[in-house]
Symmetry: none
Amino acid sequence: MVEFHVDRGSGFPAYLQLGQQVREAMRLGWLQPGDRLPTVRDVVATSGVNANTVLKAYRELELAGLVEARQGSGTFVKGTLGSAAPEVLDPLREGLAKWVAEARSAGLEDEDIYALLREVLSGGAQ
Amino acid sequence: MVEFHVDRGSGFPAYLQLGQQVREAMRLGWLQPGDRLPTVRDVVATSGVNANTVLKAYRELELAGLVEARQGSGTFVKGTLGSAAPEVLDPLREGLAKWVAEARSAGLEDEDIYALLREVLSGGAQ
Amino acid sequence: MVEFHVDRGSGFPAYLQLGQQVREAMRLGWLQPGDRLPTVRDVVATSGVNANTVLKAYRELELAGLVEARQGSGTFVKGTLGSAAPEVLDPLREGLAKWVAEARSAGLEDEDIYALLREVLSGGAQ
Amino acid sequence: MVEFHVDRGSGFPAYLQLGQQVREAMRLGWLQPGDRLPTVRDVVATSGVNANTVLKAYRELELAGLVEARQGSGTFVKGTLGSAAPEVLDPLREGLAKWVAEARSAGLEDEDIYALLREVLSGGAQ
DNA sequence: GTGGTCTAGACCACC
DNA sequence: GTGGTCTAGACCACA
């Protein structure tokens, strides 16, 4: 089961954070087609966000074709995102974890790590 | 010289994007204490954002003690962010680039990679 | 300029009524690409609907690619809907008006007329 | 026999769709006083809607004096709607069908046609 | 009890 | 002054 964590006061809209977390869970295989998302009320209880904010996040996922809301029964994962199978992801995750350990022991903070990744992904100096 | 890229319509506030990009450039050593930030006018021309938005971003960086506005001459980097020296960053960047190459050849998209990193940084299953 | 009329208490969601009216105005050529929709505040004043309801309608039109919201300046028609040129529409409208006059003088109410049209469009008995 | 078609996900409440379809069938003479409506069970099977939703639709029609529920035997049309006799309706239907054929061959979509009719019924520019 | 609609109002981002 | 975000809470449609 996915649990959401909303960082309020970061300026980052709460409904976007929720949407992103669903997308990431789908990419990582935590959410598979047919799985039910936490109910709106669950998310409200868990994350402290208002119900309408959750609804908005779910509605946008629905419009994106990723989930499907069924009145009275819940919201369900419909589409897929990211093609990576666990057999592929697991060794990569392991390799990345090793690299992260190195980076941290060299004194890098998480923000440094994100910055480095963005640099590398965007192909150097950009 | 740093060049800003603002993604409008992503829901992510423009002034936060600018601030984040300055911070990342500082972390990666692209911006060093004493360096001058692009002028507001430059950023407007480059990114299509309104001047007030740029001013707001710079003002917040100044309040954070990271930059200093000098009337008539521009805005200059004052503080530092991230403790990593180039001698430390370079081999890490290289290691990361190698891992990214692997991940991509395994079919992962950039979003998959970000998701994996977030997972690893947050300590596994979260 | 388009003016909205929202029928509250019909059970028909207000935001759908607004969306439909924009779409119809586009079909009839009352709204052309580049035209500005009434501001959210205008609609609130005109129709008595809440601002968020209007925003929701406009956001859905934007997601459908029909309009574009520009912060600080308004919401503008972007796409097109219905290919009918005025030269084509005008004679048809005239013919229809004539038929409507007949139907009404035969005692039909508007609801009868809608029912008839729906029957004819759906191809008879269906 | 009337057959219901409920469009879920249109935002239009299912019970209103059912009610409207009964009303239209009455206006067009498909349902006459004394006729029996489909059983709730039939509608559930046909339209995929929940039984309570059908019951709610029938209850509202009953409150409007249009139908009458007889315990154990079904729901029957009681009142009338629309004053048009078949001798009146048929030629009008024919005239409308001719107009619709014209409109379609001019490239109009059904939505265009509905928009035009609404415009004409509401008396022009509204 | 599920998702959905609407409201009223505060506050923010942007021009 | 423009659109947008978020909240709190009432109420509805549906299973």
